[in-house]
């Protein structure tokens, strides 16, 4: 039976506190690790070494970066929209942290378990873009504004195929509880049942996280630094943290929906779960360091004219097959 934190810890406030601490710790450590991993992986793909000086294999490089960013001056430019500008880095960070709590990492454990887990994850993920738009608008910088506009348009476009692909899975599993979906995957993962759905989901997920080749909201060579052009110090670090945590969330969803979550032979559940998650993240890094960036209109065309029809067709086929089989 699936246990959640509230089952293990009787006091509800203590449970909340513990959950928050665990998630914050995981998010931070994970982001530190991922940034280091990204720098190392990209370096290895580019005939470099990447960080080597700070710590073994340069592992403390990102820690040092964060400490530095913490101690940097926080600049608030002139003529900004103060509430939006100051709130955005916090708002961007909150939903991704909430989203993290919903995944069962083992047959018997999840921090939080609800019967609408999947809906919640997508709802939280959608909030991130409000924060990005707040940042872009509040910065009073044209590059930031352009980046924010791109981000919103991109988010709306890619959220649809993302959810449509996930919807097909929920139809098969007949549940929106993530633990149920994982359990429903029996001995073979849904990627075999839903290969097109899995592909659509993964492409959309990469786009959702604003990673190359879909990184147009912060397209470095075009928009300087996009929506976070005007952010310095820790505020910028929070955007960074959110981006990397977001990667983990979409990979966790993909793992749970298509790769059988914690299921796997021999090794314990969490190992399988995180192994799959980090493999998917590695593929994201791989994509980023291989492909050039799409243009904005091509990105939108791809979403509206390719992914969404394909996802709808996939959904239709799934529904038909389910109806016929039942």
């Amino acid at each position: 039976m699936l246990k959640t934190l509230s089952d293990l810890v009787p006091n509800v406030f203590l449970a909340m506190l513990l959950a928050a601490a665990a998630i914050m710790a995981f998010a931070t450590v994970n982001a530190l690790f991922l940034v280091w991993l990204e720098r190392k992986v990209s370096a290895r793909m580019q005939r470099r070494y990447g960080p080597t000086v700070v710590g073994p294999f340069g592992m403390f490089q990102t820690l040092v970066d964060v400490v530095k960013l913490l101690s940097k001056q926080l600049i608030s430019p002139k003529d900004i929209d103060k509430p939006l500008y100051h709130l955005a880095p916090i708002v961007v960070f909150v939903p991704v942290v909430l989203g993290l709590s919903l995944f069962p990492i083992d047959k018997s454990f999840a921090l939080v378990d609800t019967n609408v887990g999947l809906v919640l994850v997508f709802a939280f993920a959608g909030m991130g873009f409000i924060a990005i738009f707040m940042a872009g608008w509040g910065s009073n910088n044209k590059y930031a504004l352009l980046g924010a506009m791109r981000a919103v348009a991109q988010n709306i476009a890619y959220e649809i195929p993302l959810i449509l692909a996930a919807l097909a899975v929920t139809m098969i599993a007949r549940s929106m509880r993530i633990a149920d979906i994982v359990e429903a995957q029996g001995s073979f993962p849904y990627i075999l049942v839903q290969p097109i759905g899995a592909l659509i989901y993964y492409i959309s997920a990469v786009a959702e996280t604003n990673r190359a080749p879909f990184d147009i909201p912060e397209a470095e060579s075009e928009l300087v630094a996009g929506f976070h052009t005007e952010y310095s110090g820790m505020r910028f670090a929070l955007f960074f943290l959110a981006e990397y945590t977001n990667m983990v969330i979409v990979s966790m969803v993909a793992t749970s929906l298509f790769l059988g979550g914690y299921k796997g032979p021999l090794l314990p559940g969490p190992v399988w779960f995180f192994g799959k998650v980090y493999f998917l993240i590695f593929v994201m890094l791989w994509l980023r360091w291989t492909f050039p960036r799409l243009r904005f209109d091509q990105l939108m065309t791809f979403a509206w004219k390719v992914l969404i029809p394909l996802a709808l067709a996939n959904l239709l086929v799934t529904a038909t097959v389910l109806k016929v089989m039942s």
């Binding site: 793909m45 005939r47 044209k142 060579s221 075009e222 300087v224 050039p292």
Partner: protein, 392 residues
């Protein structure tokens, strides 16, 4: 006419120029807005500033603002003798510095009717073509960087380093070569240089296959390049566009063929052209040009004779006759012309550098109209400009 701005610190005290961020007033209808791209922008190839009038992301009007890298090369030329201008030449266009350096030597040699020894001529061809390959490699990397692909940039830099270390051994510098002298070159090449060059060519050929797999056949790359940034023959004539940008429009104009200089008339090579006149065509032309440069280098290595690398009598101080000379070479970016006017003294009366990037950049307002912001970067990257060369 005169100003005290040239006195050190005067401009600083005066608070320097007008508001550097001054943009035109906003459009009254509120349909368009201005975006100031540069001079500090990751894709402005140094210090170009584009003043863009945008509607959404579409460019309504574009005005390049140059001069942020103006270093008074031409004024310096008028203030020092012919020999002393030599180090300046490779700093005009630092990516094909060798070609510029040698071109200046050749121009002065033409003025003075100096014979260059055969061996020196061959060495010049080899180093110039190596420099051209290294310049194109850097372009390859930065173009992909502008498109958002980061890894090809590092790959091409890796290969470029090989060329630099080959040239470094002979010339003593990596970027701003001062290898040419009036009448020859400073340093003879040894067998190791030739062997290393041959080995590098073999290596690069293998690497080109990798590049094609990584970049040329990439769907995203092609969709970003095909049909984008068309600079056709008419536009080229209108603006005097030369080099690979022109050849991508299907015009087989290459100074090495049109007005052969040095010993280029002795080598077999093709002038690659393409018909699309777009980013992809320029990409193809440059990649093909690297191949042709490699062919030229191979022939030069095969033919290089023994002998002196400088004329018997080295030139120290000289005064060319009164007159004017125009000498053109094909640099990595197009036709580089040196117009020297001599008044009979040991100091040039006037040296005008006709730099290809200046003309190639001038067509931007026309080409960029109606494109997206992302295309602006791609097009700018594809025509391969070097800002200090534009500003001189």
């Amino acid at each position: 006419m005169t100003s005290d701005l040239h006195k050190p610190g005067a401009a600083l005290a005066a608070g320097t120029s007008a508001d550097p961020w001054a943009t035109p007033p906003a459009d009254p209808d509120g349909e368009t807005y201005y975006l100031n791209m540069g001079p500090q922008h990751p894709s402005m190839h140094g210090v170009l500033r584009l003043l863009l009038e945008l509607r959404g992301e579409e460019i309504v009007k574009c005005e390049p603002i140059i001069g942020y890298a103006h270093r008074a090369h031409e004024k310096m030329a008028e203030n020092r003798n012919y020999m002393m201008f030599l180090p300046n030449t490779s700093r005009v266009d630092y990516l094909s510095g060798m070609i510029y350096n040698i071109a200046y030597c050749q121009a002065v040699e033409k003025m003075l009717a100096i014979e260059v020894p055969e061996r020196a001529e061959h060495i010049r061809v080899i180093v110039c073509e190596l420099n051209r390959v290294s310049s194109h490699l850097l372009w390859f990397g930065t173009f992909l960087l502008d498109l958002g692909g980061i890894t090809p940039f590092l790959y091409s830099f890796d290969d470029r380093e090989q060329i630099l270390s080959i040239l470094d051994r002979v010339t003593g510098s990596r970027l701003t070569y001062c290898y040419g002298r009036f009448g020859g070159v400073t340093e003879d090449v040894d067998k190791k240089f030739l062997d290393e060059t041959t080995a590098f060519l073999a290596r690069l050929r293998g690497r080109m296959a990798e590049y094609h797999a990584l970049v040329t056949d990439n769907v995203i790359f092609r969709s970003r390049c095909e049909g984008v940034g068309v600079i056709d023959r008419e536009t080229a004539i209108e603006y005097g566009v030369t080099g690979p940008t022109l050849r991508a429009a299907g015009v087989p104009y290459d100074v090495r063929r049109a007005e052969p200089y040095g010993i280029y008339d002795r080598f077999e090579f093709d002038i690659p052209t393409a018909s699309g006149a777009d980013n992809l065509a320029r990409y193809y032309v440059r990649v093909a040009e690297m191949e042709q440069s490699m062919r030229i280098i191979e022939q030069a290595i095969a033919k290089i004779p023994d002998g002196p690398i400088m004329p018997e009598k080295a030139l120290k101080r000289f005064k060319p006759d009164v007159g004017e000379h125009y000498f053109a070479v094909e640099s990595a970016r197009g036709q580089f012309g040196i117009y020297i006017v001599s008044d009979g003294s040991d100091v040039p009366f006037r040296i005008k550098l006709r730099t290809p990037s200046f003309s190639n950049l001038a067509c931007m307002p026309d080409v960029l109209r109606g494109t997206m912001v992302a295309d602006t970067i791609a097009i700018l990257g594809s025509i391969d400009i070097v800002l200090p060369e534009v500003d001189r």
